[in-house]
Assembly symmetry: C2
Homo-oligomer: 428 residues x 2
């Protein structure tokens, strides 16, 4: 048997998984390495965090997705080292994976602007399923604490939610929180009115949704205000405490007592970027992203490709955003590049085609920037729904998500409102 070209892919997110699947008919042997046994549909994590969907609805086992693809092998493991000269990747369990082509697509993690150690435990972000269930736990416990609190100030603080970061994730989180407070939990408590919850969205720049056109961002702003969300733009967070935040706006400091602070502000490249810097001469930008050539390869190492959130790439003088669309297109591109090389062909540089941006603002309400057209309201939400369901990997999840959403939409109920995890047991 002839040894085939070995492709090792690190990371089973949008970029890595797409690359693996696009290579299915090529004469290559693929090994897909991930720390988790599932592919996660991150754009819907906020729905898990707010109890509308279950974890399994937005995650699919990598082995199940790739079971019928003969040229791929899945390895559960963490990439920790690299011998670029010998072309070998080293895993935490000591195993070594030799490659002819290495694709690195390990994504991004939260970044608290130098205050990671202090702020991360106080203000969880939303990147993993564990993040989502932790946020769900905190939000639901906030209402429970308010219900039993005797002191009015403590009660108000327990029902105050501060979300830091006015991008799509922050906007979708506050929209979903407002839905829960104003609609889902209505009538379920005796001593508190969940609708009295205070929801504050903090954004550093002059307006929310900076990557959207003015009219759509303004539409979203009005939608959130209508849902009772307080929006603080041109405002910095200067302190996060166990029970609140300090905001800085103009020359003024404002302290807000808040039981729950959530982080949707900054991300940086995952740790494997450092390994590429140390062992393959990669240059990292301030956000920990690996600077790549226009063909997604690492300068000096044409056999190493870096894709998705971990890759730092400019197009028309602007950095590409860390969104699923970029990762998906780079995954397809990487597979094509490898196929071309096997045939001795040259591949033109990667070119991102922005097919539009969307964000939801609560129930049945979204904005969509399709470039040639701006949509808002229910139509935009239907398009958002359609696109997201179509993308979710695996037929089963798609049907279940549709049923669960249809039900949530009709009943205004949320089934996955479970406070789980060890810390939720009062007294333990």
């Amino acid at each position: 048997m002839v040894t085939r070209h070995r492709v090792v892919i690190v990371g089973g997110g949008f970029a890595g998984l797409t690359a693996a699947r696009t290579l299915r008919k090529q004469a290559v042997d693929i090994t897909l390495v991930d720390r988790r046994n599932f592919h996660l549909f991150q754009p819907l994590l906020y729905q898990v965090a707010t109890g509308a969907l279950s974890a399994a609805n937005i995650a699919a086992p990598l082995r199940a997705i790739l079971a019928k693809q003969a040229n791929v092998r899945v390895v559960l493991g963490e990439a920790v080292g690299l011998d670029a000269a010998a072309r070998q990747l080293r895993l935490a369990d000591g195993n070594v994976l030799p490659y002819e082509t290495l694709i690195v697509a390990t994504g991004s993690r939260h970044h608290y602007f130098g205050k990671d150690a202090e702020w991360e435990p106080l203000a969880p972000g939303l990147k993993t399923l564990e993040d989502a269930t932790e946020i769900r736990r905190r939000v639901l416990l906030g209402f429970e604490h308010a219900e039993t609190a005797e002191d009015p100030a403590a009660r108000a603080a327990s029902m105050t939610f501060v979300v830091v970061g006015g991008g799509p994730t922050g906007v979708e989180l506050v929209g979903a929180l407002a839905e829960i407070a104003r609609r889902t939990l209505r009538g379920e408590y005796d001593r508190i009115d969940p609708a009295a919850a205070r929801i504050v969205l903090v954004e550093n720049s002059a307006r929310i949704l900076g990557q959207f056109p003015d009219d759509l961002a303004e539409h979203a702003r009005r939608g959130l205000v209508k849902l009772g969300v307080e929006i603080r733009t041109a405002t910095r967070v200067t302190e996060i405490r166990p029970n609140g935040v300090t905001l800085h706006h103009g020359e003024q400091d404002e302290r807000i007592d808040a039981g729950i602070v959530l982080w949707a502000a900054g991300v940086r490249g995952q740790a494997f970027g450092k390994v590429l810097a140390d062992h393959a001469g990669a240059t990292l930008d301030r956000g920990g992203r690996v600077q790549v050539a226009p063909d997604c390869t690492l300068p000096g190492h044409p056999e190493i490709l870096v894709l998705g959130d971990l890759a730092g790439m400019e197009q028309d003088g602007k950095p590409l955003p860390g969104v699923a669309q970029v990762a998906l297109q780079q995954g397809v591109y990487a597979a094509k590049l490898i196929a071309d090389r096997l045939r001795g062909r040259v591949t033109p540089p990667f070119r991102y085609r922005d097919r539009g941006n969307m964000a939801t603002i609560g129930r049945g309400h979204a904005i969509a920037d399709l470039g040639w057209m701006h949509l808002s309201g229910f139509t935009a939400w239907l398009i958002w729904l359609f696109i997201h369901i179509m993308y979710i990997v695996g037929f089963q999840n798609r049907v279940l998500v549709l049923v669960q959403w249809a039900w949530a939409y009709l009943s205004r109920n949320r089934s996955a409102r479970l406070i789980t995890g060890v810390k939720d047991q009062p007294g333990t």
Copy 2:
């Protein structure tokens, strides 16, 4: 406004929740206290542990279930103390709940026959959602470790599952494990054949399913053997190690190297029984159950009722089993007793009507003892399915469970095969 009769219910399981709902038209003020914010359908926990259902499919928020019942209030909290003379229940957060009638239905927890401290971390049981996801994590990681293990003995051990306890829970667990190994995971690994997994069921007494008639237990035994399960009856577990167990059978000791050991053997009453013993003169039996009068009340305290798994009650010289049916019927009985007392009527003693026992043995296969009739095979499984879906609280869960099961049955797939929790990240 006249102060109404106050009923405090501790525990939102089958007994407590049924009592609360049955009292909905009575002139009483009910407070339902639970440590968790949801009602859990425990009989299906093994389906979560084996990845067929999501946590939210078998759990429903107590507040949502009771939102439309005006005479009930839900409190998230842990009952830790009692002043029986003053008729006050004390919670861990310091709050005090006065009552005219107290219903205690806190259920049972695992019992490792005096070896709790040593064995519990090594052999998790199946009582909570956290237990279920922990078992799911261990089972799936077992196959992952086998896939990357270089040593054949280590590989075999990683794929060896020992379940201790041959009652319905143990039988349903091994049946589901066999399904996963032989069917669900087929073709998803490169180096191992999941069907080669070894599944051992250990039972102390002479046969499995002691509470079932001989013919049905024998049918189940044959069904499990057909699925490749090794059944060891008249066998005691004498040691549980991090990587295996020692069994004792006849005069022989047998060591089995097993990556995963699960506990389905013994339960005892929850800790609140001790509070009743210390502060209300309750007598506990060896299993920590509170001995109650034939009307479910605590001797000497007619205003305190103990229901469900925590209650120790005999009928026709035999102790009542710790099953959902008993808890449900006692919940209805307790509500009737309270209603009768408000009207000055006397209620006849509680009488358990055994409507039959069921257990599943893998996909589309069950046994049912209806007393007047013994059923087995697919018909029994359809009845089992129907009864369980009908009982699941809340319309949404019922529909979703049905869709998920229908899909799992048709596709032989399992969607909720997610390894979650902090410990699953190799290298951390």
